[in-house]
Amino acid sequence: MPKTELCETPPIPTTDSLESAPEGGVSGLLHRRAEPEAGKGSARAPSLWRAVVGAFAPRACHERCLFLAGACLTLVNFFMVQHATVAFRRAEMAVIAFSLAYFLGVSAGYLVSDRVKPSWVVRALPWFLVGQLGLLLAMQPLHEVLRGQFRFLGWAGKADDFGAGVLLFLLMAGLGTSIFATVLPRAITSGGGDLARCYSVEVAGSLTGLVLMPFLAAISHQAVLGAYLLGAIGLLALLGAGRGVRWIMAMVAVAFLVAYPSLDRAAASETYRRVYGWKVEDIPFTRFTPYHKIEVVRANGEPRLLLNGLRQFGGDPRRTYSYFVSEVPARLMGAPRVALLGCGSMATVGRIGDIAESIRIVDLDAEVFAAARHYFRRENRLGELTNWTFEEDDAKHWLANAQGTFDLILHDIPPAHSRQVALTYTDEFFRLVKARLAPRGVFSISCLDPVTGKSEYGRRMLATLTSVFDRYYAIERRGSLFFYGGGLGLREVPPSELLRRLDPEWRDGSRPLTREQIQTLCAGSRPITISNVGDLIYE
């Protein structure tokens, strides 16, 4: 029986050690665990579920450490990547930076696991947790402060972003996972070298964290953070931290959770002042979901919707957007049956609510819908309109399974900064849309980026759209391009008629484009498919 090095008390002998388990693995183990229960004369045989839970439940002290370390590693993965996404404001870059930081932290933990004494881990863990909490709160403004410093040093263009990203990456690698990763190799040592048993308990902890995550996230972000802190403090206690340290950490955790909403708002306000130049008056709504950090910000006298720190609604360009994306095609069609893919503030619904026969709103994130419904009710008028329905679904999945066809399908999905979103700008996605259009139906989308500038983003989008839709026309307005496409049954509206039917407010500066002109604009650009969405993401 090896002396434990992880815990103050020696581990309870693990009679079910798999080293002594019969050939047959799990089934043998389960069988052996069932026997004592029966021997006790229990009224009914233990269920398979109880047997499985019993088999992987932590029993010895070092196993409890492993279980908590596994759960903490899963929880930290989910909330840290959310904070990184908001700080970087580039979802895919954040995922790469965080994933590398997470796993390099694990490697560092494994590497030093036999060189750091358990007493050092006990002393370091509280500081590590405090640093982690500080990083969570400060990551968003810190990214901007670091960018500013790098610009001051002459790092122009994207170099300031890169420099700030690398420093945050190092902080995440150091403070994210490394200390938890020291637990597994050390526990295997102190548990008598039983890798299978020790690793199983850690994975059981990870699974527990994974199963708890959706429930905790549905309650609030603080619930996720609270569960994590509880696990970390539990680990600290098992590792032998004194009562004083445990109490102090518990107080720090409670104070952090209580102060978190106001501290987070202060950090976000400072960031948006630096990034957008806004004078933030209030942030009445903040919510983390599996997909976004949703924020409603009142700045410069008007409400703005932000998803992962990026503007979705607010300011005049968004009104131009909703007019051209939704109202122009809806008025040309009469009383269309509309499908709106992606909701944002749903100002598009407010624009066409009186014209459309029906509007089906589809969004992956029901929380965005709920926030927009409440805080942008003046723009979307959902309270007064009765011809809309909402479905929480992925647009691809919904298009493939929806019943019937639509006269007008609107694409109101944010720019392709992540793989998940970029998949809705591909040839494959647009073909799903086309299949759901009525014979004379229109698909309306904005190219989001000037098509005449240096950037290829808009032209690649246009090339993709022209490769899928048979008939199309467009309106160019101050560099932005609004595309209207359909099948062979679509009537291509002549430029003169299109201009005449525009609201006088929007006529100046708008230039209708024919199919031939559109083809010239995107000539030589390659369409976007699932094989090259990276061209959009990293453009």
Binding site: I96, S107, D114, R419, S531, G534
Partner: protein, 193 residues
């Protein structure tokens, strides 16, 4: 058995063919795991539920694999996990965007996860200190992660079709190479401090 005897019999502290095998396995597991995630994202749904379910099945399979004692099972799981991926890909190709398919895909993911689990006890006996096995496998996973995150967006279709099988090639070669120097089953020894 002394450490020097153990080393002379092929047990290693973090260098040599078994270290490369651990790293190659890490690369392959990253390719395989993320190929499943990407496959679900492209052919089923981008909803968080798909990701959570996939990760759940992977970890559940991992648990089962960890607790399988026979080294032969690991050898059987090598082709089985690869086959499971292509079964999932084929099923999702035939029935795209059908959530009812998720349990079938989940079983495939669990089979691949079981390979990941079975790998650690299989190779642990070849390392003097288990931390080196975990360290090399994890470093390989980091490399695989990078390949995955860029491969899936710059060569998505190729990645889905070929990454899992290409990732398997070095693992199979290294496993075959190290097979001839295989050792009798030894429990992982405690580390010295």
């Amino acid at each position: 058995m002394s450490d020097s005897e153990a080393t002379s019999m092929g047990r290693e502290q973090g260098q040599g063919a078994v270290a490369w095998l651990a790293a190659a396995m890490g690369v392959w597991l990253a390719l395989l795991q993320f190929a499943y995630f990407f496959l679900l994202e492209v052919r089923l749904s981008s909803r968080a539920t798909s990701f959570f379910v996939a990760l759940f099945f992977w970890l559940a399979g991992f648990l089962v694999g960890l607790n399988v004692r026979s080294p032969r099972v690991f050898v059987l799981l090598l082709p089985a996990s690869l086959g499971a991926y292509y079964v999932a890909r084929q099923v999702l190709g035939l029935f795209p965007y059908r959530l009812g398919i998720l349990p079938v895909v989940g079983v495939c993911i669990a089979v691949s996860g079981a390979l990941a689990g079975a790998f650690f006890p299989y190779l642990a006996r070849r390392f003097l200190a288990v931390k080196w096995l975990l360290f090399h496998e994890n470093n390989g996973f980091v490399v695989g992660l990078l390949l995955t995150l860029f491969g899936s967006v710059f060569a998505g279709r190729f990645f889905l079709d070929w990454a899992p099988v290409l990732g398997a090639v070095p693992v199979l070669a290294l496993a075959w190479n190290s097979r001839e120097r295989s050792l009798p089953a030894l429990a992982c020894q405690p580390m010295r401090h």
